[in-house]
Subunit: 349 residues, 2 copies
């Protein structure tokens, strides 16, 4: 008995939710209240907040010509620099650098070999000069060669203890409160949220559910292959391989979206040139589509970098003037951290 | 404000469902009734039906030591031979053969080249002798080189008109009613259902939502790369490339599950040696796990093939005696179509 497109998934969604909950009325009370009290409360009134409200109205109002059936409500978010802090360096790269001593302990011959020697020296200036090739070698040595379960346990342990030096808090607390509210608001309006990140898919999956409420299966990222095998007791396990299957950045983002989701998003959020194609692809769909870019123009509360709009240049999360101009020309919305966000982090008063 | 693991997804699920529905009480009435009246109605009482009921009870009863929180309830299903008919030939291969004339029309030079010449001849005996290399060449020519949108439109058109010669019905009606009931029953108990198929991911996605209530993002299959580009008006689109990213068969199934889902399934269903590793991987997890294999032992109502248990040998959906023995040894359940299923198809009286 084939289910209709509309009926099947919604029945599944509802029953899944019912099974998860102690009582339905209790939950309805909470969520209805949440949905009604001040969506996007950490946003200042302005074109960015309004663009989100208008988009949701246009795509969820059954009377709207841009109405989107719930199963097609897909929104994609870049992570580094869009959902959490990426400066001065991507959190995953810090993890990989921190893992080098353990890798060298297991393979002592690496201690005298570059780039491991430089990382072990702790000399931050020398480390800042490591080439992309050096970094890829470090990523390969620290992210592959172990079982999936071992990797998950190591990454979780690090995330539970490591702290950002500026805010002296776990990296997982450095997520932008206004963006958390966008996730909540879209979710409350039936959107299924995906992270689409240039970062490692397995790394982000370790904390995505806890930090963003986004389950592992809704994380699309750069992904290596795994290899199926058996331990000495015949128990099967997967080993992380160095082979890169998906480089989920630039054109790789829409390609990864097709591979992992198979539908064009209706909304997409990013903050750098690596997100350009994802935002183009999203905006090129029919009906109401939302493409938004976070501009880091708030040196005081977070960081300021572009080089768009005369902001300082950077290699981490580059937002070029060309990207800014494309956004303005094609009807994307640029979010000014400084002007559009009342606060940056949940831990702020 | 990070959501807790438990709270985030369930709120999303419920609100997604609410948005999809005209009235909540109406829906609740229907689904509660459905869930209570005879689950697995097309199954005969016996160890296979009982194994499914026991598994669901063990993993959804909060008092059970094997209780699985709803976000972790993942079930994976092979498609060909598990959810629908695969004999005498996989439906996707029939599609590819049917597409050859259109491909040759676009590239007339292929008319005199093998294997296209043989396919154009219509000689079924000669076609049956095509090698795997020949078939892969035909698959490449008919499944790649066009835009994703063009492919989707072509496949949909074919599925709307093509009919299976034995039952004289669209291929999409040849799904097993008892398995549709398993999908419904698991879904009603909070399971998120994935197809994990050796077939083409893009092909199955064209009809998975309509036929199984499984949305495109929950289809894991053999997948080629795509390439992002722009048409002459600057509009971006994706082209299907010949490069194979994921060969989702044998060990590729658990590898594909890790890539696309990132969690180990609690239940997995298959019917051939290509499903062996997926069932091993599922069964190797903690707590209650369900691994089941459909044995095609019903020549009268469908087909009979093995060669397990002395059934006729086949190259399409091979179920070896070694697989049968592994199933018995490791506590998987073998489903006998002949004995366990009251009826095969929904269109049967």
């Amino acid at each position: 008995m084939p289910s209709s497109t509309f009926d099947g998934p919604s029945r599944r969604l509802l029953l899944g939710a019912l099974a998860a909950l102690p009582t339905l009325p209790g939950l309805l009370g909470v969520t209805a209240a949440q949905a009604q009290t001040a969506p996007l409360a950490s946003w200042n009134d302005g074109p960015a907040r309004q663009a989100i409200l208008d988009f949701v109205k246009a795509t969820t109002d059954q009377a709207s010509s841009s109405f989107v059936p719930p199963p097609e409500r897909i929104a994609t978010f870049d992570q580094d620099g869009t959902l959490w802090v990426e400066h001065p360096m991507y959190t995953q790269v810090i993890y990989c650098l921190d893992r080098v001593p353990a890798v060298v302990k297991a393979k002592p011959e690496l201690a005298k070999v570059e780039p491991f020697k430089t990382v072990l020296s702790g000399n931050r200036e020398a480390m800042a000069k490591l080439s992309m090739h050096d970094l890829l070698e470090i990523l390969g040595a620290t992210l592959t060669g172990m079982s999936v379960d071992e990797f998950n346990a190591e990454a979780k342990k690090w995330l539970d203890t490591a702290k950002d030096p500026r805010w002296k808090r776990p990296y997982t607390e450095l997520t932008y409160q206004p963006m958390q509210e966008v996730l909540q608001y879209l979710r409350a309006n039936g959107y299924k949220i995906y992270i689409v990140t240039g970062g490692g898919q397995d790394f982000v999956r370790v904390y995505s559910e806890r930090v963003y409420g986004i389950p592992p299966e809704q994380v699309v990222g750069s992904a290596g292959g795994t290899k199926y095998g058996y331990d000495k007791n015949g128990k099967p396990f997967l080993t992380k391989e160095p082979k890169l299957l998906l480089n989920d950045d630039n054109a790789g983002k829409p390609e990864g979206i097709h591979l992992m989701i198979g539908r064009r998003p209706h909304a997409a959020f990013g903050n750098s040139t690596g997100d350009r194609q994802m935002l183009e692809y999203t905006k090129a769909g029919d009906g109401a589509r939302l493409s938004m870019l976070v501009l880091h123009d708030d040196a005081k509360r977070e960081y300021a970098y572009g080089p768009a709009q005369g902001l300082p240049d950077t290699k981490v999360g580059t937002f070029t003037q060309a990207l800014y101009d494309e956004a303005k020309k094609d009807g994307w919305t640029v979010i000014s951290m400084k002007n559009d966000w009342k606060r940056i982090f949940a831990f702020e008063a």
